[in-house]
Subunit: 143 residues, 2 copies
Amino acid sequence: MDAAGAKSIFFNYVKKKGLRNTRQREVILAKFLAAEKHITAEDLHNILKKTNPDIGYATVHRNLKLMCDSGLAEEIKIGGKKARYEQKFGHEHHDHLICLKCGRFTEVKDDRIERLQDELARAKGFSPQRHKLEIYGLCRKCG
Amino acid sequence: MDAAGAKSIFFNYVKKKGLRNTRQREVILAKFLAAEKHITAEDLHNILKKTNPDIGYATVHRNLKLMCDSGLAEEIKIGGKKARYEQKFGHEHHDHLICLKCGRFTEVKDDRIERLQDELARAKGFSPQRHKLEIYGLCRKCG
DNA sequence: TTTAGTGCAAAGGCTTTGCAGATGT
DNA sequence: ACATCTGCAAAGCCTTTGCACTAAA
């Protein structure tokens, strides 16, 4: 699915909720979709300031939260540092390899692990809904 | 290993680092070891206040950090909320099932998952050191 | 007696909220 | 019109730090 698709998902959600389609909301969404994978609210705000210096930090936060509610974005916090936001749409679930030296993330996924996680949870009488797997270590460059 | 063993690990570390063995340090450690598995700094501070009302919050934080450095404790942050501290000692690595309704944690572990994680990382040229797996869903009671 | 440790309060770092004015619908 | 949205600044929340004093070694 392309950015236009994501846009319509988001604005359908907004409409359904009786919320409004503002100039800021539109540009925040557009820049978010065009941005790198794991962006912070601050980074996004900085990008926005170039073209829309009037947009406030709070508005960026409010809209990122709304994007998460709509299912378009997901908040991830790594190491208790500031939140990062990831596009979920057209972007299937994955886990992260996080380099302890350079801090870069790599996305990975393994169906066998996914399946085992599910089994493991169910074996404990738990109904899994989602999960987060982060593997910390050294990447190829830093190792 | 018992609490006495944990204590000596910690104070050996403290000594080796040229640090000191204070009254506060001793009681913070003792209460931490006696406390529930995933305690927050605030909870620990509250417990301490009962017997040692003079101990400050900052001191609790400072000592929890020291316990982490010594390898005795581990800081875990779940959902970006306040940090929780876990006893690592005599307590092998495990993952967490986290109930979205009641918030309770359950510890789980599966060697097959551990192995696959390792393989997966290495296949990407990554040298894994540690990882964190959190599975969110509903526990038996809340499901 | 020297240097780490402590308690307090203040400062940080990030996120959230209150408010008055602006703006979609 | 009227409720949502926005920008600003202030407040929150938790953690960390600066400082003068206390206390290990």
